[in-house]
Symmetry: C2
Subunit: 245 residues, 2 copies
């Protein structure tokens, strides 16, 4: 991989760091909660706390959007929602196909957080004949043989793969061949895709492993003592608590 | 939040950056795949590619574990698996309780990736009387009233909250009062916890929002042109593809 490619990996397009892009949805969620409570303006400290980051990071992130707030007042909630939504591309509709409707696919099909962010489930597909024709969250499950039809007729731009591991790469190849350039992968495999296709991988055990790391630290486990030569750390080292995303 | 707290947020314990901790499970998954294929040693480039990061970042991450590989040979797969597992605390068993057994809770209860990483589901709980007594993935669903019993008798150290949003904070307060100090939250709310408790939040729509951002960029959407004054970017800006976690 060339240095230029590495830079592109860390910087999304015109210079918003990838890490900032990853936090924007978290800010957006906190802002929606404030809107629901009728809050019109919010300080960076308050918003940062609600999003589980520190306020300096929040201010820096928002400055990438050209949003600086007003001293002594903070950010206007409604305008900031608009700015972030626009930046993320959520002011338009995205059609999503979910491939694999086991428990996880069903959970995703009924997930309220998709529709409210502009993601519309345009298709549910499975290879299991017993599931084909079933209604899940208001949509009929189609056979995987219809994948290309569903993508074309539903103008699907994002494919969500929730199949078993062994089926995921083949499904991925088919959605990419059908013109899809964004894939959200829940299957426990790393997918290969051609240049120009974005894959985000969700591994439900990764967050648990990160918790295990901290849990071990709290217990003064081997990882902590081995290299540092210090005793078990005091609780003050673990004040960091709410991590978003 | 004080600057000291901020530092603790970004550095986990004795100096492994949080971002590195978050990538260790991704490396581990790639290493397990290599083991299954009978591969004994791996170059940093190969492992980095399998994990979807660049090799310089991988080498730096592994150096925090005191693992530097051998020039011209690379890393010994089995030993690296041991080192990362030990660092993450996966060489011991972790008992997990899943609270809320809707589609998502069921998907989690049956998720193969938990058991293989040392996470043992010690309890499934729900407030719905109709679900209590059902067998899911080999475990019987218990009533939420039994939460404290299940935590104590199962020696649960990590609680997975997969309830609806409105129920999540109350459940969280109860697990914390019962002595749990690590919470994995799938409910669409930010949970408040006392100092010393770690919460990791999984929002299934966040990765979709990040994909939407890139999808919009690829289409030359408003976010891209507005501040830069440039035309739509060429495909070379999007070679970054496989993102893990």
């Amino acid at each position: 991989m060339t240095p230029r490619q590495n830079r592109n990996r860390d910087r999304a397009g015109r210079g918003i760091p990838e890490a900032t892009v990853a936090r924007l949805p978290v800010y957006l969620r906190a802002l929606h909660a404030l809107q629901e409570r009728g809050v019109a303006t919010v300080s960076s400290e308050e918003l940062a706390s609600a999003a589980g980051v520190n306020s300096a990071k929040l201010r820096k992130d928002l400055s990438h959007l050209g949003s600086y707030g007003t001293r002594g007042v903070g950010y206007e909630v409604e305008y900031l929602v608009y700015q972030i939504s626009r930046e993320l591309g959520l002011t338009q509709d995205w059609a999503v196909a979910i491939i694999g409707v086991g428990n996880l696919g069903r959970a995703l099909a009924g997930y309220g957080g998709f529709a409210s962010r502009g993601f519309r489930v345009a298709g549910l597909l499975d290879a299991d004949e017993a599931l084909v024709g079933q209604e899940i969250a208001g949509r009929t499950v189609r056979h995987i043989d219809r994948l290309e039809d569903v993508i074309a007729s539903g103008r699907v731009s994002i494919a969500v793969i929730a199949t078993p591991a062994h089926a995921a790469q083949k499904v991925c190849d088919r959605v990419v061949a059908a013109g899809v350039t964004s894939v959200l992968n829940f299957a426990p495999v790393v997918l290969s895709v051609p240049e120009g296709v974005d894959v985000r991988k969700v591994d439900l055990s990764i967050e648990l492993q990160i918790l295990a790391f901290h849990e071990q630290r709290k217990a003064g486990g081997p990882g902590d003592r081995r290299l540092s030569g210090e005793g078990p750390p005091g609780p003050a080292q673990y004040v960091e608590t709410v991590e978003a995303g």
